[in-house]
Symmetry: C2
Subunit: 283 residues, 2 copies
C-alpha cells in the first residue's frame, strides 16, 4: 500500500508560516490583499474563488473579488488590471482563465504587473521560473507539487523525475522546480513515443495530463513517488486524478490523492505569494 | 563512420536568407546594425567579435564595436546600454560576458531592452524561449544547435533528446527548442546519477558541459545524433569539443565537429537576429 501524500498537512504548514508573516505585516499597518478578477460565472472559478477567499481569511489576508460580466470588453478588463497594478492596497492579483474568446489572453497577461502576478502568468514570472530568479511568482499549482515533495521529505537530488505535460501552468514550471532541486528531469507530452517506458524508470512522476486513467499500472514501478495534478470527473461523476488509483496505488511507494492532494495546497501557495508580494512591495 | 554535421553549410544557408532580408531593409534606407559591447580585451571576446564583424559585413549588416576599459564603472556601462537602447540606428546589442567582478551581471541584463537583445540574455528573451513567444531572442548558441538539426533534416518529433548542461546560455534554452520540436527532453547535469545510462538511450545528445572528453564511447550508442557545444583545449593545445571524437565518432550516426560545428553557426544566427530585430523595429 502506498503512502498517501495528503495535501492538507502541507497546506497547514504553509498556512502557519504565512499567517505569521501576514501578522507581522498587519502590525506594520499593511493588510496583505489579493484581488480575484473573475469574468463571468464559471462553476470551477467560483469554487476556486470561494476556497481562496476562505484561505485568505484564515491566514490574515484580505480577498477582494472583482467581478466582470461575461461580455466585458477587452479594454475594460485591461483598465481593471491597470487600476489594480496602480492600487497600493492590492498586493496580488489572480485573473481567472481561460478568458472569453473575444479577449486576448496575451494582452491581459502582458498588462499585469509581474510584482503582483501571484499565480505566475506573466512573462516576468515565467522568466523567473526559468532563470531561477526574478520579480514574479511561480504558478501556484506547479509550486504546490514541489511543496508536497519538500514537505514529505522526498529528496529530488540525483533522482529521475518525469513530468507528463508541458503546459505553462504546470508541466514546464514544475520541470524547472525539479531541476532546481537537482533532479534529472524528463518532460513527456502527447508526442512522446513510449510514455510508459519513460515513466516506469522514473523515481518521481508528476502527471499533469488532465485525462482520467492516463497513469495506469503499466506506467509505474515499485518505489516511485507519484504527484497527480489531474482534476477529472470519473464515471460515477466524482472528482478523480490522472492516475487509476486502484491500479497504481498498490505498486508505487507514495502518491498524492485526488481530491485531497495537490489541489488542497494550491490556495495556500496563492495566499503565501500574496503575503510575499506585500512584503516585497513594502520593504 | 559518423556523418560529420559541419556548421559551414548551415551558416551559409542562414546567411543567404539573412542577406536577402538585410538587402530589403537597406532598400528601405534601414541598415541593420549590431552593437558589440566589450569590456576589457579578453582573447575569446576579441576572437568572437572579429568573426561577428566579418559575418555582419558579409551579410549586409553593420557592426559597431563599443569598447570600454576593464575598470569601467557599472554606472558607465549601464549608461552605455541605455544609450544603445535609445539609439534608433542600433537594432541589436551583444554584451560580452562574463563581465568584470565589480559589475552586476543582473543589473546589466535588466538594463538591456529585450527588443535589442539579439543574444538572449534578458528575462524578456528567456521568457520567450520558455513560453514559445515573446519580444526577445533565443541565445544564439542554443539556437545554432537547433538550426543544425533542422538543416540536416534530423526530425526531433517523438525522439528522445538528452541535454547535458542546464545553463541559461545553452542547456536550458536548447531543451526548450527541442521540446518545441516535440522531442521527449531530458536535462542532465552535474547532479545526474548515471549520466552514461541517460545519454546511451537517447536519439539525440546535446553536450554543453565544457570539459574535454566528457562524452566518451561509454556515453553513446549506434544511430545517435550528437551535437557538441563544448569548446575546450586539448593536450596538444588545440580546440576540441566535449566529445572524445576518436572514440565516439565510430559509434554514432552523426556528430558535429569541433572546430567547424556549432561555433560556425552562432555568428550567422547572431546576424540573423540583428536583421530580425531591425525588421521588428521598422514594421
Amino acid at each position: 500500500m502506498a503512502e498517501l501524500l495528503k495535501g492538507a498537512p502541507v497546506a497547514a504548514a504553509i498556512g502557519e508560516r504565512t499567517r505569521k508573516r501576514a501578522e507581522a505585516l498587519r502590525a506594520r499597518g499593511i493588510v496583505p490583499t489579493l484581488a480575484l478578477v473573475r469574468v463571468g460565472a464559471r462553476d470551477a472559478d467560483i469554487y476556486y474563488e470561494r476556497n481562496a477567499v476562505k484561505r485568505c481569511a484564515a491566514l490574515g489576508a484580505e480577498a477582494r473579488s472583482v467581478l466582470l460580466p461575461e461580455d466585458v470588453t477587452e479594454a475594460a478588463l485591461l483598465e481593471t488590471v491597470g487600476a489594480l497594478n496602480e492600487d497600493p492596497s492590492v498586493h496580488g492579483v489572480l485573473i481567472f482563465r481561460p478568458l472569453p474568446r473575444h479577449i486576448s489572453d496575451a494582452r491581459v497577461r502582458a498588462a499585469l504587473s509581474p510584482e503582483k502576478d501571484v499565480d505566475g502568468i506573466t512573462d516576468g514570472s515565467l522568466a523567473g521560473v526559468f532563470t531561477g530568479s526574478g520579480r514574479g511568482f511561480c504558478p501556484c499549482t506547479a509550486q504546490a507539487c514541489a511543496e508536497i515533495l519538500d514537505h514529505y521529505g522526498v529528496d529530488c537530488a540525483g533522482k529521475r523525475a518525469v513530468v507528463m505535460g508541458r503546459s505553462l501552468v504546470i508541466g514546464k514550471p514544475v520541470s524547472q522546480l525539479l531541476l532546481a532541486r537537482n533532479a534529472t528531469v524528463t518532460v513527456c507530452h502527447t508526442g512522446t513515443r513510449d510514455l510508459a517506458e519513460e515513466t516506469r524508470r522514473a523515481d518521481i512522476v508528476v502527471t499533469a495530463v488532465g485525462r482520467l486513467h492516463s497513469l495506469t499500472a503499466d506506467h509505474v514501478s515499485p518505489g516511485q513517488v507519484v504527484v497527480d495534478v489531474g482534476i477529472n470527473t470519473n464515471a460515477e461523476g466524482k472528482m478523480a486524478g490522472d492516475a487509476d488509483l486502484a491500479a497504481v496505488e498498490p505498486i508505487v511507494a507514495a502518491i498524492t490523492p485526488v481530491p485531497g492532494g495537490v489541489g488542497n495546497v494550491t490556495t495556500a501557495v496563492l495566499v503565501c505569494h500574496t503575503v510575499e508580494a506585500a512584503e516585497r512591495q513594502n520593504p
